[in-house]
Amino acid sequence: MFEIFGIPSQALFGQLLIGLINGSFYALLSLGLAVIFGMLNIINFSHGAQYMMGAFAAYLILQYSGLGYWPALIIAPILVGATGIIVERLFLQWLYKLDHLYGLLLTFGLALIFEGVARNYFGSAGLPYTVPESLQGGRNLGFMFLPNYRAWVIVASLTVCIATWFVIERTRLGAYLRAATENPTLVRAFGINVPRMITLTYGFGVALAAFAGVMAAPIYNVSPQMGSELIIVVFAVVVIGGMGSILGAIITGFGLGVIEGLTKVFFPEASNTVVFVIMAIVLLVRPAGLFGRRG
């Protein structure tokens, strides 16, 4: 035990860890929002609800088929991603020619439906989901105690974020995607099925949210409103980072999580609002966002 700025190291590193965990979720969700916005030009307001659906999918998979955390980590994102594909085909595809705002309104409506249905069937209280056996316990690093599961969440989300960045920025598939974002008509003329690409992009973005939801299930309780509060913070993260850059979204997500964690140590009253305050400051100093292009 030692002290830093009069704060016991345990508390400081503990909050830093929580900050990194929150940051992982901010990064995963804002990454999904950015990918979806790039292709569909829609801000996916139901992203929080789809994160919640991921957590509930893991819970239900455990209840009804007895499959635990590891299978759920694969199956839940696929299932929720599939519902995303249905949503895109049924609803979103009709909106691309309209003002962006209609996409926001429609996905807001979907978020209300998803959250309402979850509340009806599961109530507002949280449901517990236990940490998988292989990740229980933790290790003492000397200056702090590190639970294994939390270490896993940080590593896994970093890996997924970087893999997504790699696919979009460094592979042929990603090149098609970026090209279709810039000029869909021209990309179609080259014989690439852009509408299908759009559908799959939305499915992938939603699956990312669900993946975050499954990882969140053992940390927070599984509850219907877990997504709606998170998504508003993620919006602020997106405003700060700007949606133009994938790497920017990842860095901003983790960075803000850490800042939030540190605020909890030094000035706990402001920990809920610090992200919004930073957003206001960024808007004053750099209106286009840290990594954004003007617009």
């Binding site: 705002l101 926001l104 409506g109 913070v233």
Partner: protein, 322 residues
């Protein structure tokens, strides 16, 4: 262009020439009769929400700015109005003015931040700022946390009229609502309002014509927030309650829904939408959380099939402006 070819438009009828006047007359008569046929408290509450929705519509319908955080102005005005009436002993007219001023100040601050970005970012910024102020409301002592500010005295208007009398209260709310409604009508039909519409249609072009569009947008934002404040402040006096519900994000969503259902960019739409949505909430109260699902479904249906809203459809059918 189609309209010129239409045989109907060749004979201008009284309805077509005076659509808005007739609509206004119908609305006033309905609101004067309403307290005698239904619950006055319900109609008062609906009028507060109608003014709130009209204020919101000023931004989305006439400047094309979607604010997803209007609960901030409504809710904080409601708190300050309730607090000043209960703790400082302000008479109702001063309490409502205090709330209105709160809306204006919040609008000035939030607006000058939000107009720095366009479109989708504007919506996210307003939502985030509103959420920040929601957390302040949760933590601040004077808001009473989960309990809110209860048992706010209605007091005596100008020290004379006892507002505990339901009809006196009703008359005051009616005057405030109609005053706010006509003020918005005036704004929309003024040269200032024409510039706002020009910004909505093509901001770049408005800038090239020499308009400082940011200033116009900010003034419109402040006006909208101020009137939302009036609505929230009046609501606090009517229901004698200010609570966290008024500042939380679902309230911001509700005012969007009311305006969307009634008709974006129509004068009467937000009023119709507010009455429809509130009536629905009252009727559906027994089924609990399903209300949320139904509201979501209405959002989806409106966006996909019914973008003009009730009043917008009606105006389209009758080929008039409402």
């Amino acid at each position: 262009m189609e309209r010129v070819l239409d045989p109907l438009t060749r004979k201008p009828s009284a309805l077509r020439a005076h659509g808005q006047t007739i609509g206004f007359a119908v609305m006033v008569i309905a609101l004067v009769v309403a307290p005698f046929v239904t619950y006055p408290l319900f109609v008062m509450q609906a009028m507060c929400f109608a003014l709130f929705a009209c204020a919101f519509n000023l931004l989305i319908g006439y400047v094309g700015l979607l604010s997803f955080g209007h609960a901030l102005y409504f809710g904080w005005a409601s708190y300050l109005s309730a607090y000043s009436a209960k703790v400082w002993g302000f008479p109702p007219e001063l309490a409502i003015l205090t709330g209105t001023a709160t809306g204006a100040v919040c609008g000035l601050i939030a607006g000058s931040l939000a107009i720095r970005r366009q479109g989708i970012y504007f919506a996210m910024i307003t939502l985030a700022l509103a959420q920040m102020m929601y957390f302040f409301a949760v933590q601040a002592k004077f808001t009473g946390g989960e309990d809110g500010i209860q048992a706010v005295p209605r007091g005596h208007l100008f020290g004379l009229i006892d507002l505990r009398n339901e009809m006196a209260m009703y008359a005051l709310v009616l005057v405030i609502f109609l005053g706010g409604f006509m003020f918005i009508y005036r704004i929309i039909h003024s040269p200032f309002g024409e510039v706002l519409k020009a910004i909505r249609e093509n901001e770049t072009r408005a800038i090239s014509l020499g308009y400082k569009t940011d200033r116009y947008k900010l003034v419109a934002f402040i006006l909208s927030a101020t009137l939302a404040g009036t609505a929230g402040a009046t609501k606090a006096i009517v229901l004698q309650l200010a609570s966290l519900t008024d500042v939380n994000w679902p309230m911001s969503g509700e005012v969007v829904l009311m305006t969307l259902v009634g008709g974006l960019g129509t004068i009467f739409g937000p009023v119709a939408g507010a009455f429809v949505i509130l009536a629905m909430q009252f009727k559906l109260a027994p089924i609990g959380e399903w209300v949320l699902v139904i509201q979501g479904a209405i959002f989806v249906a409106c966006v996909l099939l019914f973008r003009r809203g009730i009043v917008g459809e009606l105006a389209h059918l009758l080929r008039i402006r409402l």
